[in-house]
């Protein structure tokens, strides 16, 4: 099993995805994107596991919670830290419930994203 690398971004809003991927790119962080849970699982099957998963909790076609459940069942992926992003007020509580490593409240701040990435997916 190859070493975990980079970030997997799971977010349905195309513009948010574009900016975050641009951000990762200019900071030299390898990143992959998925627009929903189904695509996320596809990406995870195609390559080394990511070092960090950034997951939007409100998405169609397999929501964030469903994805986390699916992930926990996959060997090698169960230990990948997941940080959830949510616009709802209860995000922090739900993050704790889901066993997420962290929580980002929307609107997400670039500084917070970079700090998280530095912590989990540096180099």
């Amino acid at each position: 099993m190859s070493a975990p690398a980079g970030v997997l971004l799971v977010e349905d809003d195309a513009d948010i995805r574009e900016v975050l991927m641009t951000l990762f790119s200019i900071r030299g962080i390898p990143a992959r994107e998925a627009r929903d849970g189904v695509e996320a699982l596809e990406r995870l099957r195609e390559g080394p596991p990511p070092a960090l998963i950034l997951l939007d909790l409100m998405m169609p076609r397999l929501d964030g919670e469903g994805l986390i459940g699916a992930l926990r069942g996959v060997p090698g992926l169960a230990t990948v830290p997941i940080v959830v992003m949510s616009g709802h007020g209860d995000g922090r509580a739900r993050a704790a419930e889901l066993g997420a490593a962290g929580y980002l409240a929307k609107p997400v701040e670039v500084a917070d994203v970079l700090a998280l990435v530095a912590r989990y997916a540096a180099g």
Partner: protein, 450 residues
Amino acid sequence: MDGLQQLLIVFAGLLLFNAILSGVLWARHRTPLHRALFGVWGMGIVSMIAQGAVQSDRWMGFVFGLCNVGMNLLLVELVGGALRLRRRPRLHLTAFAVGLVGSAAATMAGAPFWLRTLPITLGSTVPLADLVVQAVRLPRGRLSTTGWASVFATSVMAIHMLDYPFLRDDPGFAPLGFVIAILAVFAVSVTAPAIVLEHASLEVERLNAALEARVAEATAAVRARDEFVAIAAHEIRGPLNALHLAVQTLRLGADELPHARLFDVVERSDRRLARFVDQLLDLGRARSGALHLELEPVDLAEVVRTVARQLDAELARSGSALTIACDPAVVGTWDRFRLGQVVDNLLSNAIKFGLGRPIEVAATTQGADARLLVIDRGPGIPRELGERIFDPFERGVATRNHGGLGLGLHIVREIVTALGGTIRVDSADGAGARFEVTLPTASPAAEAAR
């Protein structure tokens, strides 16, 4: 005192008791039914007194007849009102007047008892009979048991009226006449208050049901408003988040910054927000009927091509392949901007929900109408939703997982209707959706004149 007089006293006592009681109730509950009830007994008492005096003065028979008519008219008002039957005052008063004239004439002419009393009792029976006939013709289940009991009481009263001229004075049949009279009075005594009570209970039930309906409406409206606010906030946050991130990333001032791409995001966010505001305003306008149309000759095919070009970027990102099949020109008298909105909304939906599968748009002329088709192969619309998908805020998907206020299709329908056309959707769960808009090519004003 002979048995007849004893019976009369019992009668009188019963009527008096009923009259006093109903008088008290009327004073307490000032409703028309209570008043009618009191009237029935009041008149009944007067008629009893007149009845007693008939022997000494033949005009008393006339007074007695009058009171009976009055009593029966009030009984009809009571029962008819409680059972919500049709009132026919003209018929009743005509019968009464004819009876009155007939009896008066007979009394003046010194006719025998039965001839003096028959016209007015007939006049009195007509309203009773009308009520019974109406009741009997009602659909099954329309009247309650109490209702039927009061109709029965009314029938007995009618029989009593009819037999009176003949049985009253005939010693052989007088007892039968009295038995019928007693039966009639008892029946009315029991059923009249019962239907007043039932009527009052039903009124309360009706009011409660109306109140509950209002409360449910209000609760639903509040819930809808709350959901609307939540969704609106979500719709605004999307572009705002992207904008926020883009601006912050630009400020990083990194050398290899792809400025163009980030500025594109800024611009798109701007457009998304503006579009959302427009949707909100349109919703307000559509609701207040202020959808103002600027009519001019418009080519639908051209509009379709223009909108497809505008949505090119979104199409590319979704991965859907778009097929356009239009007649060379599909011209009609429409509002160019609003028509563009219709095409834009339908096509945007197809892109949003099309799952990246092929989308077809077709604009053709069909006789005096133009037809626009937008077909996608996405998950389709659940059958339970049906036509409700055109209602405001109806989004066809679970609330939490999809953006959008669900205004697009509502606005589309409002515009199509304002242009004199129709829209329908064919969809099966899982098999995509096919939207068909039919618009008359003539102007709506000309259509209305047709």
